[in-house]
Amino acid sequence: MRYALFLGCTIPARSRNYEMSARAVAEKLGIELLDIEDFSCCGFPLKSSDRASAGLLAARNLALAEERGVPIVTLCSSCNSMLAETAHHLSHSDEDLHLVNEQLQKVGREYKGNTTVKHFARVLLEDVGIDRIKENLVQDLNEIPIATHYGCHYIKPTEIYPGGENPDHPDSLDQLLEAVGARAVTHGMERDCCGGPVLVTDEQTALAMAKQKLDKVKASGAKAMTLVCPFCSVMYDDNQKSIEAQFDVSYQIPVLYLPQVIGLALGLDRKVLGLNLNVVKTKAFTEQILSEQG
């Protein structure tokens, strides 16, 4: 299992905890990650202003992985959708592939249309598999209740994710949580958008969207929330305090990246998983797991 790790822009600068935990979990489970220094922005943030340029950046990134003959694995759901959408589109349109290659020629690249793109969570579920994950479990999570947040671009638009999951009833994150001994709590808003993309145009609307879910998660009795995208994390972890202040509510819900939860079950150290970098403190959560062990 060898993949080019596509980090994108946000993760290396602002979500080292996600990157650290994903790398550590990958190593434990025998996933080989190849770093390609030349990867640029995926193109997603350009989509709203100029989607042709967005697609061009995406195609160049796909070409870099293709040159090395490896599929791409992403951690960010937006990167995942931008790259998967472009790969999907270019494999269905020779005309557009030709146009893109005319542009790529300027930098001496060519994309032949062969790169596949997968989100890290799907690699865990589909390529590593539940059995192999279970074989590596060290720490019992004692069915600690955790709320899932799937978000949007991890599963949608479904047309770019052939063989992907049902957007109305996604269950990949639930399966992975249960595989490592946690309990996936139902709260009713697992699929709803975090509001992140609206943050840049209307902060109030974005925070109100995130608040709705935090209310539900709080009411569900979950001890933490888990997610798979750095933008969603900005909404629920980084902005949790401002939401509490603005709406006069109290949550204090730790927000963990999925590999951080899985990493705990694999016996990895808090520091290795970057759990000290999460904004809402995670210590009480991890201590609860450890104390129940004893």
């Binding site: 290396p12 640029s40 950046l57 160049r60 957007p167 993309p197 709705q212």
Partner: protein
């Protein structure tokens, strides 16, 4: 007279949008309102509605659509696109409309800032020395602050 004037506008703007988007399915909208009903932005801010945007386009309300902040409130979550009974790619359509607005110089500052950053560095956040040190300390490989090829690719564009 005035009716004829509206007709011309309708034809022009709706067609422009269909052309920019590359398909004409939006004409099949029968106003069921599924898109608005499932929209997570609409739920907290009733000002925004995908249905409203599509209807305004079909009515030829070019300035009202392209210069409004409405189109920038979409979170691009794709819920409406997955739900539309007429198979209209609502989210992708809104993104195409944003491109038209951007081209005529109508956009929120943040969108322009992002585009400028990426055109200048090939990345949204260029990593400074401090970031690189933090990465090194965490045993993470170095990341390029500027990706020349990406900058070159975007050179001829805005």
């Amino acid at each position: 007279m005035s009716d004829a004037h509206v007709d011309v506008k309708v034809r022009d703007f709706a067609r422009q949008v269909a052309e920019e988007f590359g398909e004409e399915r939006m004409y099949a909208c029968f106003e069921c309102g599924q898109c608005a009903a499932c929209c997570p932005v609409h739920r907290v801010n009733a000002e925004f509605s995908p249905r409203k945007i599509i209807h305004m386009v079909l009515l030829g309300m070019m300035d009202e659509v392209l210069d409004s902040r409405l189109i920038w409130l979409c979170s691009t979550c794709y819920t409406c696109q997955e739900t539309c009974p007429q198979g209209i790619k609502v989210t992708d359509l809104i993104i195409a409309i944003r491109n038209m607005a951007y081209e005529r110089g109508s956009f929120p500052d943040g969108i322009k800032r992002q585009a400028d950053l990426i055109s200048a560095e090939g990345r949204l956040y260029s990593l400074d020395e401090f970031d690189q040190k933090k990465r090194q300390k965490a045993n993470l490989p170095p990341v390029l602050s500027r990706v020349e090829e990406a900058v070159k690719l975007l050179e001829d564009r805005k």
